[in-house]
């Protein structure tokens, strides 16, 4: 995305600036007319460290534009520092501080444009996709999935699905209940569903079944869309506690495959619930669960 390239360029600016401030703080303080203050070199080094943080966020991330606002915040701090310094100085030092202030103001403008650009990005529901190959005939695989009441057996976050008629069904998960509708269906090939209008929940998905090459079972491709409670921040928090949506859907598909190929979800002593993202983080010791009844 264009804004991301822009943000990355700003990241390089941060890196150069931070490196300069850390390695030659005295040159920087002289250029900005602050070399008479005893703490100036130390403050410059601290600001340099902060610049490196901006650089890390803008150069390290996959979508750096979302971090551009951190530079805007940094710029505000620098403007305040330089503004204060300029007011207390006279002559050549005041002129140099003014020049530095002008440079920082220009950067602030660039950063603000970038941060604002990132904000305008459409914030639709999260979409995750995953794919798995099941060593069973396509019709059988499709039929199991088409019986939507089977979904909670492998989609661990679903509590229940009740079919109301051919197209409509009632879903329950995490205290939420909503109605979903099959919006497109080609028997044995393709199924699309979504939450019904006015159900208050934004969730849906599409699954495609194709024959694996050379008779190698059935390839199942899934796309799930869901509104994350709390938006982007909610999604980030969920990731931190192990609810990584990409891994969740992969685990869902692994359970689906286990049921199709072996009849049930395999449990181990460390993961007695079977494949489950959160449990993979917080394992029990590999010791028998409970006792012999």
């Amino acid at each position: 995305m264009h804004t991301d390239k822009y943000a990355r360029a700003l990241g390089w600016v941060s890196l150069a600036l931070g490196a300069a401030q850390l390695t030659m703080p005295r040159t920087i303080t002289r250029l900005s007319g602050l070399d008479d203050a005893p703490a100036a070199a130390t403050i410059t080094r601290l600001v340099g460290g902060r610049e490196l943080l901006h650089a890390a966020m803008l150069l390290g991330g996959r979508s750096p534009a979302q971090w551009a606002w951190t530079r805007v915040a940094g710029d505000t701090m620098d403007l305040a520092l330089l503004g204060g310094a300029m007011r207390n100085r006279e002559g050549a030092r005041r002129r140099r501080a003014g020049a530095a202030l002008a440079v920082v103001s220009a950067l602030t403008a660039l950063d603000t444009v970038c941060a604002a650009g990132a904000r305008r990005r459409p914030q639709g529901p999260a979409e995750v996709r995953a794919s798995i190959t099941v060593n069973r005939p396509r019709d059988e695989v499709y039929r199991f999935w088409r019986d939507l009441e089977n979904l909670p057996a492998f989609m661990i976050h679903l509590e229940s699905v009740r079919e109301l008629d051919e197209r409509r069904s009632r879903w329950q998960a995490k205290g939420l209940v909503w109605e979903a509708e099959i919006t497109d269906e080609r028997a044995g090939e393709h199924l699309v569903w979504g939450s019904a209008r006015g159900s208050g929940v934004e969730a849906g998905g599409a699954v495609t079944f194709t024959d694996g090459p050379g008779g190698r079972g059935t390839v199942v491709d899934v796309v799930l869309r869901f509104g994350m409670p709390g938006g982007v921040l909610g999604a980030a928090v969920a990731r931190l506690i192990g609810e990584h949506p990409e891994q969740q859907i992969r685990d869902d598909l692994r359970r689906f495959k286990q049921i199709m190929e072996t009849g049930e979800v395999l449990r181990s002593e460390g993961s007695p619930e079977g494949t489950y993202a959160v449990r993979q983080r917080g394992q029990r010791p590999a010791q028998p669960v409970g006792g012999r009844p």
């Binding site: 072996t262 590999a286 010791q287």
Partner: protein, 389 residues
């Protein structure tokens, strides 16, 4: 029941834990009659396999009597005597159908963890970290065995435990090491490591028609066992292995090389050892691949390097230039034990191979901590400890 549990780096403890229960319809519960400590258990003990937790029951080499089966088990019943293969396999997926049981796609509930380290997940293994399933191991009085119709092999004659126990791992692993060498008449095979797996690779190489087998180790008592099997031996602390192998093979190098050492190899030059040891200690690399590097450099042009020693993560200074420019083939894998069970049981029965030759000690399960200590430090000429619960 009593079980040998991981209790932190370099410590195992025999603890009282709950008895196992049937968790899946295809499970069986086995009362363990014999279980062994594997060289790869030492990688767990030393803390080099990620995702091992305190309290994990160790052990992936075990056999015993079936005492309970789940409702979906048809081929086994209570009272059957079975040896259990270390990789857990469903028998129904693409990998199992291709005889690649240690790559079963359905037997690792923690596949997501393994994917992060390895790209894709292999099969689950008993008592071998959470990334490989978090299954309780077999160094215990009882063990739960998933997919009981697929893995365990019934032993219906009176062969003693010591002769069939090693069908669970070291015999088929050593055999696969030789099998992957694609041995042709006249071939010379070099085997690094004269532990249980290495010794059984030596025996298997002869069984598969090797003309000569050369075994590399530094422990005299282990090399003598290899000699007893007909191998020529090289003590790497005394001789330069690359030079010696060149001289022994008419300047060409062994036709195939088997690495039966793995990630905690040693090096005769202290500086070389210190280099990788330090990187391993600071987790800059997880594995010390001296045996592997040497096997690659020693192998003849166009030969096979067969890797059955266990590696956990990353190795450095890997001589890829030697592999590529000299058309070497690297073949490797956790053993697909289920593939070899029937044929190897037949070989044991007809007396062509006797895996009990590796056993040096038989101790009660309660002595597991002492056994690990002895095995790790090669005390009392230890090559293999069998534990009796």
């Amino acid at each position: 029941m009593k079980a040998n549990c991981f209790a932190g780096r370099n410590t195992v403890e025999v603890r009282d834990v709950p008895d196992p229960r049937i968790l899946n319809a295809r499970d069986a519960i086995v009362r363990v009659s014999s279980t062994a400590i594997c060289g790869s258990d030492l990688h767990l003990l030393d803390g080099y396999i990620p995702t091992v937790k305190r309290g994990d029951i160790l052990g992936h080499e075990f056999m015993g009597e079936v005492v309970e089966v789940g409702p979906a088990v048809t081929k086994l019943k209570a009272g059957d005597r079975v040896v259990v293969p270390f990789p857990i396999a469903c028998g129904a997926c693409f990998a199992c159908e291709a005889d690649l049981y240690s790559l079963c796609e359905n037997s690792n509930p923690n596949a997501g963890m393994a994917e992060k380290l390895m790209g894709h997940s292999p099969a689950g293994i008993f008592g071998y970290s959470h990334m490989l399933g978090g299954f309780a191991g077999g160094q215990a009085e009882y063990a739960r065995v998933p997919f009981a119709d697929v893995g365990p092999i019934k032993i219906e004659d009176d062969l003693p435990d010591e002769k069939v126990l090693f069908l669970s791992d070291v015999l088929p692993t050593g055999f696969m090491g030789a099998d992957m060498c694609d041995i042709k008449p006249g071939d010379t095979i070099a085997v690094w490591g004269a532990g249980a797996v290495g010794l059984l690779a030596v025996a298997s190489a002869f069984l598969l028609g090797a003309e000569r087998v050369i075994c590399v180790d530094r422990y005299g008592y282990r090399l003598r066992k290899a000699q007893g099997l007909g191998a020529e031996v090289l003590d790497y602390s005394q001789a330069d292995v690359l030079d010696a192998l060149r001289d022994m093979t008419g300047g060409r190098g062994p036709d195939a090389c088997v690495d039966a050492v793995g990630m905690e190899a040693h090096h005769p030059t202290p500086a070389m050892y210190a280099y990788d040891r330090a990187k391993q200690a600071t987790r800059l690399e997880t594995d010390r691949p001296y045996a592997l590097r040497e096997a690659i450099m020693a192998c003849r042009n166009g030969g096979v390097v067969s890797v059955i020693g266990v590696y956990g993560g990353m190795v450095d200074k890997f001589p890829m230039g030697s592999v590529m420019n000299r058309s070497l083939t690297i073949r490797t894998g956790q053993c697909h034990v289920q593939r070899y069970l029937e044929p190897l049981l037949g070989r044991i029965r007809e007396g062509a191979i006797d895996p009990s030759l590796v056993v040096s000690h038989t101790l009660p399960l309660a002595d597991a901590p002492r056994a690990f200590e002895m095995f790790k430090h090669k005390q009392d000429e230890c090559t293999k400890v069998v534990l009796k619960p």
